[in-house]
């Protein structure tokens, strides 16, 4: 029987009820954006001595079980993995199953994101090998969590929040597993080459620096030196060779197709025209767009507008895709600063173009950094599952309370100069613009514009943007209006949500405070 701890609840600054303690740790309820300033020293990895490592640099061991045994893996430890191989990843489960064969129990799995193909983790949770997951859960893992079957509580963090949690010691990684498309026997590794090439390995960087033990797993061992190296072998304990780290067909995911839906194309065109009419699209500007169908279409509309206006960006931020690579190769941007690489064109460009740079959550998103790139981006285009009339948004749960998506870099990107949510105003019969979001992931004060097929709403807090688009032919209208129209179409307000009073996961804000709670579905 699941044994989620009994814990008190407290109201946070956003008015959401959140657990005071999670997985045995006291929590700080959300205080407001930018209001939490923790002090003290950052966490660090234990001191090691080079003399204890092979002088010839050969850190290979025969298999993962041996490597895990040498790391001293025990019950209750934390194993981490990265998700640059996305739904094609084979390494995380391989490591967890090896741990199961060693007979260890109650592990915490700390992936930078999990994917539906990793649903076997459910069996490992049923068997008591994994106690709980701290990282995004969707598909079968998300259902397992929201049905209340996971023993510990899920913790959902942004990409930046994961780095922050490692740096302020909230999560200490005992063993980091790093799947590497290219590596040498010393442990230097990179994602830009090899049959399983995936581009950047930025999500594994913190793990490599802060974990007690680091295991690199590769299907492409090259003679020293592995060049370039994004992960330094000096942080690596063991190297394991396997036949295959992932399924190349799924490493570049299927989310990178431009939408063909006329409604979604209309939204994408509105976003591009908004950037133009608001004067954001100008020489030297910057933007970030994700890999969803609307985002990709937005880039192709914006590209035509940039060409016509003779405008060039200084940098664009990925997840990189073919469409961003085209901007770079056609001279419409000076740089791509890439967080992850979504398709083969992105992988090729990162490997060959010196103006296409791999970044990490440290440079881009970390709350404990001395600033981050995210707040220097002029505009970002994001999705959401729900947004309320105060511009608060949800990105992790479906309106019925089931976990659907991870937070990814979404929360971190809200720091951009102009944050735009691009979404349909309803899906099937389910309103997307609502009175109250199911799960709060982004505070409305940070969300500036909501673009739907029925019109564009600007946050009243952004008078500057409202003034900037005066005289524009775009259909700009209050969010409340769009909500009411959609409610009329859908046949009235939806029934009130039902959920149990049992917390199954929490949503962290970028600073490590608790923004909201995911409840067991009724």
């Amino acid at each position: 029987m699941p044994t989620v701890e009994k814990t008190g609840l407290a109201a946070n600054a956003a008015g959401r009820m959140v657990p005071e303690s999670v997985n045995g740790r006291r929590q700080v309820p959300y205080l407001g954006a930018g209001k939490y300033w923790p002090a003290g020293l950052k966490a660090s990895a234990p001191i090691r001595t080079a003399a204890n490592y092979p002088a010839n640099g050969d850190k290979r061991v025969s298999d993962l079980e041996t490597a895990l045994r040498k790391c001293g893996l025990r019950d209750g430890m934390v194993i981490s993995s990265h998700h640059h191989l996305r739904d094609g990843d084979r390494v995380a489960l391989m490591a967890l199953k090896a741990a199961a064969r060693l007979g260890v129990k109650d592990l915490m799995w700390f992936p930078s994101a999990s994917f539906p193909s990793q649903k076997d983790a459910i069996e490992l949770m049923e068997a008591g090998v994994i106690d709980h997951i701290e990282g995004s859960m969707n598909g079968p893992l998300g259902d397992y969590c929201t049905q209340g079957k996971m023993r510990g509580m899920g913790v959902l963090r942004s990409h930046g929040g994961r780095w922050q949690a490692i740096q302020d010691g909230e999560v200490h990684i005992d063993v980091a597993i790093i799947a590497a498309p290219a590596a040498d026997a010393f442990g230097n590794c990179d994602g830009s080459h090899g049959k399983s090439a995936c581009g950047s390995l930025g999500f594994a960087l913190a793990d490599s620096i802060y974990a007690d033990y680091v295991i690199v797993v590769t299907d492409n061992l090259v003679p020293f030196p592995c060049v370039p190296w994004q992960i330094q072998g000096n942080n690596v304990d063991f190297v394991v060779e396997v036949d295959s780290i992932g399924d190349p067909a799924k490493i570049v995911s299927g989310t990178t197709q431009i939408t063909r839906s006329p409604d979604r194309l209309r939204i994408a065109e509105f976003v591009a025209r908004f950037l133009q009419d608001a004067g954001i699209m100008r020489n030297g500007f910057s933007f970030q767009a994700g890999s969803g169908g609307i985002s990709l279409a937005f880039v192709s509309y914006l590209k035509e507008m940039m060409k016509q206006a003779g405008v060039k960006a200084r940098f664009v931020r990925g997840g990189s895709t073919k469409y961003l690579v085209e901007l770079l190769e056609e001279g419409l941007t000076d740089y791509i600063l890439d967080g992850q690489t979504f398709d083969l064109d992105g992988v090729r460009s990162l490997a060959n173009n010196s103006r296409h740079l791999a970044t990490s959550p440290f440079t881009s998103y970390n709350y404990h950094g001395k600033g981050s790139f995210a707040s220097m981006v002029d505009a970002v285009v994001l999705g959401a599952t729900e947004v309320d009339t105060d511009f608060n948004a949800n990105v992790v749960t479906h309106s019925d309370g089931r976990l659907l998506h991870g937070i990814g870099g979404w929360q971190n990107c809200l720091a951009a100069g102009c944050t735009i949510l691009a979404l349909p105003s309803f899906r099937d019969r389910i309103p997307v613009i609502v009175d109250d979001v199911t799960t709060l992931c982004g505070p409305g004060e940070l969300i500036d514009v909501v673009v739907t097929e029925r019109g564009i709403a600007i946050n009243p807090l952004r008078q500057d943007l409202i003034d900037a688009v005066k005289g524009s032919k775009l259909p700009i209208r209050p969010l409340e209006d769009i909500k009411n129209e959609v409610q009329r179409i859908c046949g009235g307000k939806p029934q009130p949500r039902k959920h149990s009073d049992r917390a199954v996961a929490i949503v962290k804000w970028v600073d490590g405070t608790v923004l909201d709670t995911v409840w067991q579905t009724a």
Partner: protein, 401 residues
């Protein structure tokens, strides 16, 4: 204890993982036991209660009191739910002569005889998912199609869905057209459709004036029965060699006709030639149709361009259409709409010239001169008329600022 026996059953609508915004309803009418509604819905946690309530109300109105009702809903909107339940009940032999109509939104302004008809977007009459957002893409008209895009087995159900869409869906400033089936089935369509104030009826495969007269009389009778006074315009579609030869007679068949249009798939099939992207094989038919329409004072509207991936081909076809005298085309995808609006707009050079002619005409009028001249050239009255018409059209398209 008595066990209720099933008398008759009926089924309507669609469900499945790939279906959106529709539902499947199966009704087993029984001789006792009341209503039992079994609902499975993608949106059950939001609208489950509302769907059950609506099902009960619709069945009550149709006089179905004892039945097992199985509903599998894929997020259908209320007007769709009502239409599917009504269709299933009728197929189970219930509710004949009764209509269960969804709430009617405010009726748009009646449509004008000479309004812009550059683009008309076809919407299959049995596909609810395309209807709700169609008008957002800004076509001059939408066509709720009951003919070729609807399977013969679905004609009765599509008719109810289209009827409900005319009442409940906001098509914004689009002209609301319905393409009925060929006669005599088309007459049954009219009985459901005309009471809901369509702006225009497209009559398919017209070959003679008599067919138009029959439709026109039927429409007028229904209008009289319901006390409808606003116009319901007609647009015959000529799709055969005979139809083309009779174009002028057809154009003169009814005062309610505002335009003639042509269906090239059927026409080329009738000729026994392949349809090409340049359209050389249909040049005669299209020119003949334009001439007949203009002779009767009507708009000539071209066929659809079927390849939705070929925007350049569409643009070239539309420019040629305009040059032949057509004023618009059909669309099978919203992405075709802006291309058509651009192609059917007057060019800048045409507008500049027309503006000068109109200015000269006004000046001549102000000075009481009978002759209009521009520079050293005298301008004939038909040239002035054409310039005035072009500027009026440009203004309607929002091009004159």
């Amino acid at each position: 204890m008595s066990v209720a026996t099933t008398l008759q059953a009926g089924e309507a609508g669609h469900c499945g993982a790939d279906i959106r915004s529709d539902l499947q309803v199966r009704i087993e009418v029984r001789d006792g036991g009341g209503l039992r509604i079994e609902l499975e819905s993608r949106v059950g946690s939001f609208y489950g209660d509302s769907i059950r309530r609506q099902a009960e109300e619709v069945l009550e109105a149709l006089g179905v009191r004892h039945a097992l009702v199985e509903i599998r809903d894929e997020g259908a909107l209320p007007y769709v739910i009502a239409a599917r339940i009504e269709a299933a009940a009728r197929r189970a032999g219930r509710g004949m002569g009764t209509r269960v109509l969804p709430d009617r939104i405010a009726l748009p302004e009646p449509s004008g005889r000479d309004r812009l008809r550059r683009s008309r977007l076809y919407l299959p009459g049995s596909e609810p998912k395309y209807m709700i957002n169609a008008a957002l893409h800004g076509p001059d008209a939408i066509i709720l199609d009951l003919e070729d895009s609807v399977h013969p087995r679905e004609k009765d159900a599509a008719r109810l869905l289209v009827r409900n869409a005319l009442r409940a869906v906001d098509f914004l400033s689009c002209e609301r057209m319905v393409r009925i089936n060929q006669l005599p089935l088309g007459l049954e369509d009219l009985s459901e459709i005309v009471p809901e104030y369509p702006d225009l009826i497209l009559i398919p495969k017209v070959e003679s004036a008599a067919q138009v007269v029959e439709v026109s009389q039927h429409v007028e009778k229904i209008k009289a029965d319901y006390g409808i006074t606003r116009p319901v315009w007609l647009m015959p579609i000529l799709e055969s060699a005979v139809g083309i030869e009779n174009a002028f007679a057809i154009a003169k068949a009814s005062e309610q006709i505002v335009a003639l249009t042509i269906g090239l798939e059927d026409y080329t099939a009738d000729l026994g030639v392949p349809k090409t992207s340049t359209g050389a094989e249909t040049l005669y038919a299209r020119q003949h149709l334009v001439n007949a329409a203009r002779a009767a004072g009507l708009q000539a509207i071209d066929s659809v361009f079927g390849d939705v991936g070929d925007m350049q081909g569409l643009h070239a076809w539309a420019l040629n259409s305009r040059a032949l005298g057509f004023e618009g085309m059909g669309c099978v995808h919203p992405s075709q709409i802006p291309i058509l609006h651009e192609a059917f707009a007057p060019t800048k050079a045409e507008m500049d010239k027309a503006r000068k002619i109109v200015a000269a005409f006004k000046e001549a009028q102000d000075q009481g001169l009978g002759v209009v001249s521009l520079g050293s050239k005298m301008i004939d009255p038909p040239v002035v008329q054409r310039a005035l018409k072009l500027m009026a059209r440009a203004e309607a398209m929002g091009l004159t600022q």
